[in-house]
């Protein structure tokens, strides 16, 4: 399955700290995407990294991809209470239909 598995399942930090989430997958991919979901809402696309890229930045987000280890990480720097959400990685290949794991639940305490 190309579904990603996020780790840890839950993460609790203080405002201003950095948050790191990891994603592992099992098959070859064309790209890997990260999404955020606020409680009970739809998912919001954060960033897409292609298989030939190693690192990508978007504002306070930094994503890395290691295709040899079939893993990715999402770093949120200087976290804010508004970053509290669930984060999902979605590896995709061929059909470009992202598939989702159980996510990492991030709580940022003010």
């Amino acid at each position: 399955s190309q579904q990603g598995e996020e780790d840890p399942q839950a993460l609790s930090i203080q405002e201003g700290e950095n948050a790191t989430m990891n994603c592992s997958y099992k098959t070859s991919i064309n790209n890997l995407q990260w999404y955020r979901q606020n409680s009970g809402r739809g998912l919001v696309h954060l960033i897409l990294i292609r298989s030939n890229e190693r690192e990508k930045h978007s504002g306070r987000l930094r994503v890395t991809l290691d295709t040899s280890k079939k893993s990715s990480s999402l770093l949120i720097t200087a976290s804010r209470a508004a970053d509290t959400a669930s984060y999902f990685c979605a590896p995709a290949r061929g059909s470009y239909i992202p598939t989702f794991g159980r996510g990492t639940s991030l709580i940022v305490h003010p």
Binding site: G40, G42, L43, P98, T99, R102
Partner: protein, 110 residues
């Protein structure tokens, strides 16, 4: 520019009944995907529609069916509802490999 819209937002049904959920994609998007998200889980892919045809399907029984109209809007139908069908149903339209999600329909089956 309206994003992806879903209706209704909440729905309560009884076991054995049938339900129809509706989705309007973002303007210019011709591909619609449906996901089911149970509480505490990640979204699970149901199927994807493109040019009014079901292009791909996830591991869901035939009780789950769909339709896409010429204006790209879509419906998800679930027959013979089971208690286990209670979930958040998410619709997403696609553009350049990225998914844009609606806020979902919360379905409760009693």
């Amino acid at each position: 520019d309206a994003g992806v819209t879903q209706s209704p937002t909440h729905l309560i049904k009884t076991r054995g009944q049938q339900v129809t959920l509706r989705c309007s994609p973002k303007s210019g998007h011709d591909t619609v995907s449906w996901y089911q998200q149970a509480l505490g889980q990640g979204p699970q892919f149901i199927f994807q529609y493109y040019e009014e045809e079901e292009r791909q399907r996830g591991n869901f029984p035939d009780r789950f069916s769909g339709h896409q109209f010429p204006n790209y809007s879509s419906e998800l139908n679930v027959n013979a509802l089971l208690l286990g069908d209670s979930a958040l149903y998410l619709c997403a339209s696609s553009f350049e490999e990225k998914l844009f999600f609606g806020s979902g329909t919360q379905l409760s089956v009693l």
